[in-house]
């Protein structure tokens, strides 16, 4: 193997990603939006103009002004500050949920596909059992019996979501393991861990990225829908879906109050889907 200096790797990968964005400008837009949103989410405590939870009944349903750029909601809370604070709730939580699910699903899928035999059968039957219920129904069941709340519903989603990743990774692993280069690597003395790390993970990476990008978007939609229904984030939390549900009774006199949170969800999910679509186009020549 040739040795690569760290700077070389950085410039190379920077160049590669720039080339990718040039080839798929749509994905570039998606990445740009996602980067901005992530930045807002990580800096949200310093970006909020006003306290997002401060209730001032004297200031309710104010029109946009310098102090409140998007106006105030039915409890006099600054809408833009709530939106910014909600970035962390909605996007941050979906991101974390997806990360956890991937960290569970990918190793299990690799293990099942690589080890085959009993372990594979056991893991896949487990997946069959857990995947029998749609995640939304499970979330409703959990919220219904154990009480509404973001932690409960996220747990319910995670219980089902890992299966998709495990199945995807297992399928790729099974088909790759039949190929000659893996056999050659085994003959050359590579151990299981080395094969997984050097060969299988690389094969898995791009389909995984496509799935994960779309999945973050889907999770955002799911979490905000559950919060809208009152099963997820509870008031006064500035979660976007919950904000929409708060603004619902006032939409005739103050439609902005429900328009902004929905627009935020739309933009973020759109960014995720743009990235996923762009990746898919780059990987899969057939769909072009």
């Amino acid at each position: 193997m040739k040795a690569e200096s760290p700077t070389n790797v950085v410039t190379q990968s920077a160049y590669a990603s720039w080339r990718t964005i040039r080839r798929s400008p749509v994905m570039g837009i998606g990445i740009g939006i996602a980067a901005i949103i992530l930045l807002i989410a990580s800096l949200s405590p310093w970006l909020t103009l006003n306290d997002p939870l401060l209730i001032q009944m004297s200031q309710r349903l104010r029109a946009p002004s310098l102090e409140y750029p998007l106006g105030t909601d039915h409890m006099g809370r600054c809408i833009i500050s709530r939106l910014v604070a909600g970035t962390r709730q909605t996007v941050g939580l979906s991101f974390c949920a997806s990360a956890v699910v991937i960290l569970i699903g990918v190793p299990l899928g690799l293990l099942a596909g690589y080890a085959k035999g009993y372990l594979d059968a056991l893991l896949m039957r487990l997946a069959d059992a857990a995947g029998a219920l749609p995640e939304f129904l499970l979330a409703i069941a959990v919220a219904g019996f154990l009480g509404p709340g973001l932690v409960n519903t996220l747990f319910a989603i995670a219980c089902v979501k890992w299966i998709g990743y495990a199945r995807l990774v297992r399928g790729i692993t099974l088909s790759e393991c039949k190929k000659d280069y893996i056999h050659a690597s085994i003959v050359a003395g590579s151990g299981g861990w080395r094969i997984i790390r050097r060969h299988l993970l690389r094969q898995v990476a791009s389909p995984l990225a496509i799935m994960a990008a779309a999945d973050v978007g889907k999770t955002i939609l799911l979490i905000s829908a559950l919060s809208y229904l009152g099963l997820g984030a509870q008031p006064p939390s500035p979660e976007w879906g919950a904000m929409l549900s708060d603004g619902r009774p006032y939409f005739q006199i103050a439609p902005e109050q429900m328009i902004y949170p929905g627009l935020c969800i739309l933009i973020v999910v759109l960014a995720c889907n743009l990235i996923s679509d762009g990746l898919r186009d780059l990987m899969d020549v057939r769909s072009r």
Binding site: A132, F136, A143, G144, L229, L244, Q252, G262, V269, C272
Partner: protein
């Protein structure tokens, strides 16, 4: 063929067992002690002896697997208890609400096809041209827009501003339009994409060239000859998206005040009406399982490749 159908049936049974287990376990974990609730309802003092009597009467002193068994037998006889709030039989309540949800689901499917078929068809015929890009943009929008937001915007525009359609409630066909459009639009993208790629693949086949050579008109070639194989994955997606449809129906029913199962479940959750929640989960779970199974079997019947294959392995 029969082996395949049987295997799917086995999967359905497995799913129902998991469904019942999950429901049972969650019910056991739900806060609140049923023994205390009964004693309180009967206004009897909470003594150790009284608790013991009630526990025995409810069968709660038996081991868990026996409790599960007797609960399962009850549920299988459609005996799901009574609603805490109205004291109505839960099965009757479910059956009262079911037609509204089923009609919403059918009209949403219709709306979905109205969006998806033309868009997928146009995208495939004009592949790579601006119509294709426009169709793709619409699909992206549908996949990204939150359904409850779209519904609210539609209510705002068509009910409040234009006053064309009723805002909320159920009963008439007019009430059905906005919820169906909402649900159909957010579910259409997957179908558009699938139809487009299926048609593109179909159009590149030899038999299409043969059909064109025979002088069959182009729209006929596309809409009938190439469409047939492209419809197969659509059928299987219809079964798979049953879960999404149920989920979507909860959101849209609540949003539009449509008197179906979904809005009933949401009410039940806020009232902690456990028997109703239990009934909803079991019924919709059963519905989803059956839909998946039917679409699998339908696929077997439709696809000549599977139908004629011998020595099928799963």
């Amino acid at each position: 063929m029969f082996k395949h159908v049987g295997l799917r049936l086995l999967q359905l049974v497995l799913m129902l067992i998991v469904l019942s287990l999950v429901t049972f376990v969650l019910m056991k974990m739900a806060p609140g002690d049923p023994v205390l609730a009964v004693l309180k309802a009967d206004e009897r003092p909470v003594t150790e002896a009284n608790q013991q009597v009630v526990r025995q009467a409810l069968g709660l002193d038996k081991p868990l697997y026996q409790q599960y068994g007797s609960w399962l037998l009850q549920v299988a006889r459609f005996d799901m208890g009574r609603s805490y709030t109205t004291n109505q039989d839960v099965w009757q309540l479910l059956m009262e609400r079911l037609p509204a949800t089923v009609s919403l689901m059918f009209s949403s499917m219709l709306a979905l096809l109205v969006f998806a078929v033309p868009l997928g068809l146009l995208a495939a015929v004009y592949c790579g041209r601006s119509v294709d890009h426009a169709s793709r943009m619409i699909a992206l929008l549908g996949a990204s827009i939150p359904s409850f937001w779209l519904g609210l915007l539609l209510i705002y525009l068509f009910s409040y501003r234009l006053n064309w359609l009723p805002m909320m409630g159920g009963g008439s066909l007019y009430h059905l339009i906005l919820p169906s459009v909402t649900l159909g639009f957010v579910m259409a993208p997957e179908y558009i994409r699938l139809l487009r790629s299926g048609l593109l693949e179909g159009l590149s086949q030899e038999y299409i060239r043969a059909a064109r050579a025979r002088g069959i008109r182009e729209w006929r070639v596309t809409a009938i000859y190439a469409m047939r194989p492209a419809l197969l994955p659509i059928v299987s997606l219809l079964g798979v998206s049953m879960g999404a449809l149920i989920a979507g129906s909860v959101v849209t029913e609540t949003l539009f005040g449509w008197p179906g199962l979904g809005s009933m479940a949401m009410e039940a959750i806020t009232q902690r009406n456990y028997p109703v929640i239990q009934g909803y989960i079991l019924l919709t779970g059963l519905g989803i399982g059956l839909a998946n199974w039917l679409s699998d079997v339908g696929l077997l019947l439709l696809d000549p490749k599977i139908r004629h294959e011998k020595g099928m392995s799963a």
